[in-house]
Symmetry: C2
Subunit: 239 residues, 2 copies
Amino acid sequence: MPCVSIDCVIFGFHDNQLKVLLLKIEHLEGWALPGGFIYKDEHIDDSARRILHERTGLQDIFLQQFYVFGDAKRSDENITKLVFEKTEFKAPENNWLLQRFLTIGYYALVNFNAVHAAPDYFSEACEWHDINNLPSLAMDHGGIIQEALRTLRTHLHYEPVGYNLLPEKFTMPELQHLYETILDEKLDRRNFQRKMFSYHILKRLKDRRKGVAHKAPFLYSFDLRKYHKALQEGLQTAW
Amino acid sequence: MPCVSIDCVIFGFHDNQLKVLLLKIEHLEGWALPGGFIYKDEHIDDSARRILHERTGLQDIFLQQFYVFGDAKRSDENITKLVFEKTEFKAPENNWLLQRFLTIGYYALVNFNAVHAAPDYFSEACEWHDINNLPSLAMDHGGIIQEALRTLRTHLHYEPVGYNLLPEKFTMPELQHLYETILDEKLDRRNFQRKMFSYHILKRLKDRRKGVAHKAPFLYSFDLRKYHKALQEGLQTAW
DNA sequence: AGGGTAAGTGTTAATTTGACGCAATGCCAA
DNA sequence: TTGGCATTGCGTCAAATTAACACTTACCCT
């Protein structure tokens, strides 16, 4: 489907830092978000899932639409031209489509270690970048990332989505560091734990994280069944 | 811009009921949301504002993008055909565009009494309908309305956007009824008032609502300056 | 004028949140 | 091998917020 694209802000967590997966487009300045187009018979959520799978090799990832970027001047003609040259899409005679592009923003939360980053057809590199140390970005992709981060922060206040960024087993301090990084603020260790427990979505495992300095912390994993149940009943405090 | 439309869920409040403005499309079954297309050099928010202005005569309304509906099968071919027949847009030879349409959902909060409902080019009627008593709706417009309502409810928990639905002057019980209608739950009169006051966005006026049965309630209006200031600093309770 | 009803204001208990203490654990260095 | 030290697990208490409810005042209606 022409004139509309999908861009994915793929968040990962590594070395206590929040990362975003970016592509380096050939012959052009700046990095770009993984993106793509909507196939003819595809639900847009499936398009986003497909793009995500192509770049990361992952399936069944947490993925959420968050905003449509529709400034008339947001497109970069060079990039648009490149896209039309390299794909099956054909610009009509009136070159309507060259002039502007909407993009639907999705954000995804992935397990950093499980990702196999792969460049796409237009790009020469596909790499993680620290959210606090982003390279120069093409078009409005910097703004899209900021908006995704803002959305993620908000969602984190209502739904404990953060663990999607962690491996299956993790410790409470690791989970807390993740939250602190996303929210960019220090949290009290004990109150954090109490709050997390109150959701009843964590399973404490029998084993602990070993080989680490100091007292060995418990390992946890998520109780997905309880998580979905809790979400349905609503976590957020109502009026 | 073809292949993408904008649909507006315009909420109004009247007779203690939440209303939605709907259009009756000529020669077709069911009612539809006011919608339209994006002009060439127009920011999509401006497109939504334009559509809203055309249907209601209003300007400077509270308006918010909330979701993109992108199911591959959501379009109704009859309606799409009608649109192409009646507008300047031309379907390309491959009739790509006849096959599916994305729509960007916006919701708007308007002062019911200020609206002058006007049908558009395709429709024979433009009327308010009770949210709890909707007529048969075209395509997925029923789902769009439900999603808009869900979004409105969520937003109401964070930002006191409700007053956008009321006239400039209103009483506390009126405001409370509005909230009760949107959230579909009973609220305690005294706690509601305290909470509202705590936002410091209301100005109590000197006069009261007169001619009404029982004790005359105070009139209030919004202190827009303080409202925007409060929003910037964030109303929601952080972690 | 008095009854009925809704509005304005205040009080109190329950719950949630924020700030912090202390003992237990497990490296590491002496 | 043992004591120091940083970190984890668990708990406490006060402050703030929320929920539940009582009482007085005002205005229409009969």
